[in-house]
């Protein structure tokens, strides 16, 4: 964002220019600026309108949908949400999603920050090899391991329990998270850790009391990204979490939709229930989302 001033200066130069402003220039500038905003607003509508349809349809009756599929609801029907929550069992699925996401996020952060710190700050024999091993994991898609993982989870009796999603998700979260935390810890000043060491902290103390608190921005970016990943995961629960009682929201929504194909208001209410928590997290922690996603890309 440091460049903002310069950008504005440049655009002013570009449009107003040192030359004398003639009527023709003014007109061109006006057209250019209108076109610019027309494009930007067009894509804004492209993003938002479909989401509006979800909310609007979720508040209609089936009859209203048929009569007026795309407009505002003429009479708001909250009952769809109550029905989806209870009859559609979205309440249950919501609870499942929370039970699954919380430990995934917690353990990914804990394990990845420990490992990232170890790799960044505690040079040891073989640390490069270990790091490359994790980096390779960034290039291997989940599909490469999904089949045998099913039978491994079956053998250790995780299938049919929450563990079938929690534990593999932690493992799958390792490569990116370790990469991310290692990069952040490498950028922190070494002197702070040394000072704490002189004050009598052991290695764990340095990590836990000094470095981890300093890595706050990286940790919160990772929390947001991992939460989104866990909440939205689809293929993994589709394979390992088919049992009805343990389904997370996303999977519950998919099965609900195939059972109630014609009941659009209820399906849309279900979609809204899946969507709203993540949208709220996004709006609150926007900056962290963007930081997390752009980290590494721009370096």
């Amino acid at each position: 964002m440091q460049n903002t001033g310069a950008v504005q200066e440049w655009s002013r130069m570009d449009t107003r220019g040192p030359r004398q402003s003639t009527a023709r220039d003014k007109l061109l500038r006006y057209i250019g600026s209108s076109l610019r905003y027309a494009v930007l607003i067009f894509f804004t509508l492209v993003c938002i309108t479909p989401l509006f349809w979800v909310i609007a349809s979720s508040l209609k009756t089936t009859g209203q949908i048929a009569a007026n599929p795309l407009g505002f609801p003429t009479e708001i029907r909250w009952d769809n949400y109550i029905e989806a929550w209870t009859v559609g069992r979205f309440g249950k699925y919501f609870k499942n999603s929370v039970i699954i996401s919380v430990p995934i996020v917690t353990f990914v952060i804990l394990l990845a920050s420990l490992a990232g710190y170890g790799l960044a700050r505690l040079r040891f024999h073989g640390s490069n090899f270990v790091f490359v091993l994790f980096l390779l994991g960034l290039m291997v898609p989940f599909q490469s391991i999904m089949i045998p993982l099913f039978y491994i989870l079956k053998d250790i009796r995780f299938l049919g329990t929450y563990w079938a999603m929690i534990v593999p998700s932690i493992a799958l979260g390792m490569p990116f998270s370790i990469f991310f935390m290692r990069a952040y810890f490498s950028g922190l000043p070494q002197e702070l850790g040394d000072a704490a060491e002189i004050d009598g902290c052991n290695e764990f103390g340095v990590y836990w009391r000094v470095m981890l608190p300093l890595a706050g921005p990286a940790v919160s970016a990772l929390v947001v990204l991992q939460f989104m990943g866990a909440w939205n995961a689809f293929l993994l629960p589709l394979i390992y979490m088919q049992k009805e009682e343990i389904r997370p929201l996303v999977l519950g929504l998919m099965f609900f939709r195939s059972r109630y194909t014609q009941n659009y208001p209820l399906t849309m209410a279900g979609a809204a229930i899946v969507m709203v928590p993540i949208v709220i997290v996004y709006l609150v922690f926007q900056r962290r989302f963007v930081q997390g996603l752009t980290a590494g890309a721009v370096k």
């Binding site: 479909p50 391991i145 370790i178 290695e203």
Partner: protein, 304 residues
């Protein structure tokens, strides 16, 4: 605490030794879980792909490269790969082009950049199932927005069941994927634009370059890092695409939208051809690894 007496016989000092031990302890939990639930199944995938196991038999019959020979002659696989190829080409070029357009429009001086960014990124955070439901609704033959608009402007003859028609189904899915993804490209490009050297753009303006020339010759080269990165990301995503296709069309009608990931899922988990499914998953693995490798080399070359 042994602070004095540096023992240097080609050995580590006590402090370095302590750090090395701590390093191993710090990394161990992550390694254990990663080894058991990632590395182990990866090698099992290779092993399964060399058997004709059906997921239930106690014995896994070793068939050598049999599955891979079968792959070469599997017309359904080649059709699916063709769909992935279309997906990768259109699905990479379009969102990056849209992201670039929006990025440059905002960067060169639009008000409300945070607001636009917030909105453009919104579809990126949605679950694939939600996206699929939204777009199934948009493509609905009767009530869907696409057909409503077409009828509204008198193009009734173009209205159709977009997902039920083999001619249009794949493109309809692609539109969905592009919608869900261009915000991601936009945000990354915006971040990259923060590092573009304004003075070069100014210099080009003074030299009389028009907007398009400035864009192609001054801005895009400075974004090459970022563009390489998103291209790699999107290509790999395109080879592995699953959720949107699976929920919206299940690979149909017929096999008109079958991609390699849905085909693999079908073989391994619905038709119990675990060995063959594992061989298919190896095709995806190789595609991802080769793409990553090419882009890592490209990036190295850019850095020189």
């Amino acid at each position: 605490m042994t602070t004095a007496a540096p023992v240097r016989r080609g050995q580590l000092s006590p402090r370095a030794k302590r750090k090395a031990i701590a390093g191993w302890i710090f990394i161990t939990p992550a390694i254990l879980i990663y080894a058991f639930f990632f590395i182990q199944p990866f090698f099992y995938s290779i092993y399964y792909s060399l058997t004709d196991w059906n997921g239930a038999d106690p014995v896994k019959q070793f068939v050598g490269l049999g599955n891979y020979i079968k792959l070469a002659g599997d017309s359904l696989l080649w059709q699916a790969l063709g769909h992935n190829l279309i997906w990768v080409i259109i699905g990479t070029v379009s969102p990056i082009a849209i992201g670039l357009l929006l990025g440059v429009l905002i960067w060169t001086g639009a008000l409300g950049r945070v607001l636009f960014r917030t909105i453009y990124f919104l579809p990126v955070i949605l679950s694939e199932v939600v996206i699929a439901i939204i777009w199934n609704w948009i493509y609905h033959p009767l009530f869907g927005a696409v057909n409503q608009i077409l009828r509204g402007i008198g193009l009734d003859h173009l209205a159709r069941g977009w997902l039920g028609d083999p001619q249009t189904a794949l493109l309809a899915l692609l539109m969905t994927a592009i919608w869900a993804y261009y915000g991601f490209c936009f945000v990354i490009i915006m971040a990259g634009l923060q590092n573009v050297d304004i003075s070069l753009v100014e210099a080009a303006t003074i030299d009389g370059a028009n907007g398009w020339q400035r864009f192609i010759h001054v801005i895009v080269p400075q974004l090459s890092h970022v563009l390489t990165m998103i291209t790699a990301f999107t290509l790999i995503g395109g080879f592995n695409v699953f959720g949107i296709v699976f929920v919206m069309t299940q690979g149909g009608p017929g096999t008109a939208t079958q991609v390699i990931a849905t085909y693999t899922y079908r073989k391994a988990f619905q038709e119990s051809q675990v060995g063959y499914g594992a061989a298919l998953s190896m095709v995806m693995t190789v595609l991802s690894l080769v793409t990553s490798y090419i882009f890592i080399r490209l990036r190295e070359r850019q850095e020189q």
